[in-house]
Symmetry: C3
Subunit: 328 residues, 3 copies
């Protein structure tokens, strides 16, 4: 679809393009500034990122009027009042298909794989040797599952997810669902950002029951080799669970949480978005990770403190109040 037609179709009555398109190329999709090619469109939401355009191969970029002058010549600027909203509207033109697939002729199931009779498989699904897919599992188009995996009943795997070897996924878990991403209109309505990325579960990972692991906006959400995820966790879009890390039950990772290897997050831990947790760092149950945590450290509480401080903090406050009592 030509860029100009895509813009017209996507913006409709919600948004207006404020400049003229001079390079009306065939638009093939959306991508981040750093990886977009000249058939793809990106957006700049914060002023400080505008300098990244100098190294970008993007064909076009959505920007605020104030930044228009700073766009390199090889990129078509698309000036709008709300680049984030414009991006959300355009993402819907490139939304991919869903689960119902009448055709799984292109799928490849290894002869030694054991597939229960009422499993649903999409198009172009690959399932490796000795893998067991149990009852009522639903696997969408273009999913790839390795060897010696066990996918327990009622697991749902959304399109394009990649599952490694020796992976266990317990009942009711959802892999590759859409992330929680919306742009807001002037009226306070929420416009869905279609998630074009995917979810990767590497080798030797075990994922408990009733978890939700979202696909990425672009690129990937990844649970790395050897990690173990408990039950009822939520891992949001673009998060990276580091190699051999442990997430105990009911942990929630906000979008773009990343971590090094052998991290341990106790039960009910939550993270804010865009934080990084260093190698071998541990967060005690219920800790609220609101900032980057260095490697080999221990943390707890909300607000989060180093575990040593946290262990004494409330003890000392209680003592303080008791001293006041005895004075009064």
């Amino acid at each position: 679809m030509k860029l100009s037609i895509a813009i017209k179709k996507a913006f409709n009555d919600t948004l207006k393009l404020k400049n003229t398109i001079t390079n009306d190329f065939e638009l093939e999709g959306l991508a981040p500034v750093e990886s977009a090619n000249n058939k793809q469109l990106s957006y700049i939401n914060q002023d400080k990122y505008v300098k990244d355009l100098n190294n970008s191969q993007a064909g076009a970029v959505l920007i605020k009027e104030s930044l228009q002058e700073m766009i390199p010549n090889h990129i078509q600027p698309l000036v709008v009042d709300n680049p984030h909203l414009a991006f959300a509207l355009l993402s819907q033109l490139f939304a991919k298909g869903d689960f119902i697939s009448s055709d799984y002729s292109e799928s490849y199931i290894h002869p030694s794989a054991n597939i229960a009779s009422n499993v649903s498989l999409g198009k172009n699904v690959k399932i490796g040797a000795n893998t067991m897919i149990m009852q009522n599992v639903v696997i969408a188009d273009n999913v790839c599952i390795g060897e010696n995996c066990k996918i327990y009943p009622n697991v749902v795997i959304y399109r394009e997810s990649e599952i490694g070897n020796r992976v266990l996924i317990h009942a009711g878990t959802v892999i590759g669902s859409d992330g929680f991403g919306y742009a807001q209109t002037a009226l306070g309505e929420h416009v869905k950002i279609e998630h074009g990325g995917k979810t990767i579960i590497e080798d030797d990972v075990e994922i408990g029951a009733n978890n939700v692991i979202d696909r990425a906006v672009f690129g990937e959400t990844c649970v790395k080799k050897g990690s173990k995820v408990g039950h009822s966790c939520v891992i949001a879009h673009n998060s990276i669970v580091g190699e051999n890390s442990l997430l105990v039950a009911q942990v929630g990772l906000a979008g773009s949480t990343t971590m090094g290897r052998n991290v341990v997050l106790g039960g009910q831990v939550g993270t804010g978005g865009h934080v990084h947790i260093g190698d071998f760092t541990q967060v005690a149950g219920r800790g609220a990770v609101s900032k980057n945590l260095p490697p080999k450290s221990k943390w707890g509480g909300h607000p989060i403190m180093e575990l040593d401080e946290w262990m004494k903090f409330y003890v000392r406050l209680r003592r303080l109040l008791k001293q006041k009592d005895s004075k009064e």
Copy 2:
């Protein structure tokens, strides 16, 4: 069923009626004091609500002995030691059927709807144009789903739920389940309160994966137009999620939580029962909403504080302890 027979059947050996029935009408169900008609029965659990009976059309009311004198003449009093328990016992007589339905002849599926082959539909189900119902979805009796919806695999929708247009419900979510409501016997046993209400999901709502949204005791639980609910949230009976509100992942709303429009609740937020959150108010992740919050305000923490105070509160406490350290 005659009122006298219903009472006898429901109370059995657990409870005793302490007065005589003089108006033995044909009982058709239970309802709240304010909406009950003269074939229905209500109950008064707290003394202060007894005055509401003056404007009630209820046929009968369960009350404690001490309130008996205050019942208007047109209502048959039913005097018991524990009206809440009596109500729970009676609710079981009017419990409705469940999922297994051999008959879906009365259902109407729009010809353009796309229903996967292994979907289960109950009786009198309506599904609108272009709606896609994916694999293993189970829809009970009397459910109505609008146009252009996508119901992802393994979603379960309990009886009488109403889903609007352009609604997305992701994998594993449960809509219309029974609320957590029990009355206690003198022995500490819990008697289930059968939930006669329903769940309404309005237009343009997106609901993530593995959520649970309960039906109401009476009336309805409602997620209003344009709201977006993340993953693994629990929305208890009789809650109202306001128009264009956002509930990020793992949020828990206790029973009868209500809110205005464009409310934002961060990840792992919880609410106490019967609280109201005003329009445009935001609660930071992990906030514990234990009281009504005014419109256009920001909150965080547990106990909850205005966000400004919360941001400084722990900083100041840590400074206080450090000052003490340096003095000692």
Copy 3:
């Protein structure tokens, strides 16, 4: 399998046996020190438990070198650097089968039970009178379900689980899944501990939607008679939910949490492992149970305090800071 062969097969290149096997018996499985018979193998992970071996009938025991001298003569010592890891490796030899069962000839379904057509049943399953099993429920081998139960759609029940009479289990709940248990290698990899125990749900229990209740390592995880569990709770291996207890939504019980009768845990409560909560004790929503709680007491907060103290604690801290303000 001979003990020597089991050790060789399990340890492979990961671990070395440091002594010689003199009693090479036919190994039949793993068991705790207190219940193992002379065909079974146990392990001692903490020095203080070594004295328990004097009353043990175990055939062999995994121990650290420093404890070797203290092993009674009737037990074959197995000296390793990491008994916990050795135990995990051996547990995998005795892992049992999973859901896909082509044979349910040995199952017994009472003629009055109502089983939806697309339910999956394993081998040797028993289902009692008037029990209703709804759509897409998956029940693995050797599961026993009593009379008058309702198992809602998309519930998954892992092998050997025992469900009593009049039990309700709502949609999407997973019963009997593997607990979160791993031993660590020297390289920081996690070795799965296969869970040989089971899950028991006693009479008159109601379990909400999307819960996860794990099987035990050995013995059983148990939800006792008359208890009610809300939605999206996680009950870890070897936990005991006491008779007539209430767990409101999103509660997380860590491994081996036990409790007396009529305990109430509010929404989002979490417990640390190996804690006991006394009869009739209540924990307010979001409370973090990090220690044993006596009977008939009330608690709240994180860190947990008696509810009376908790209610005043933050009020007093805020007052303290205000006093400081007015002084400055």
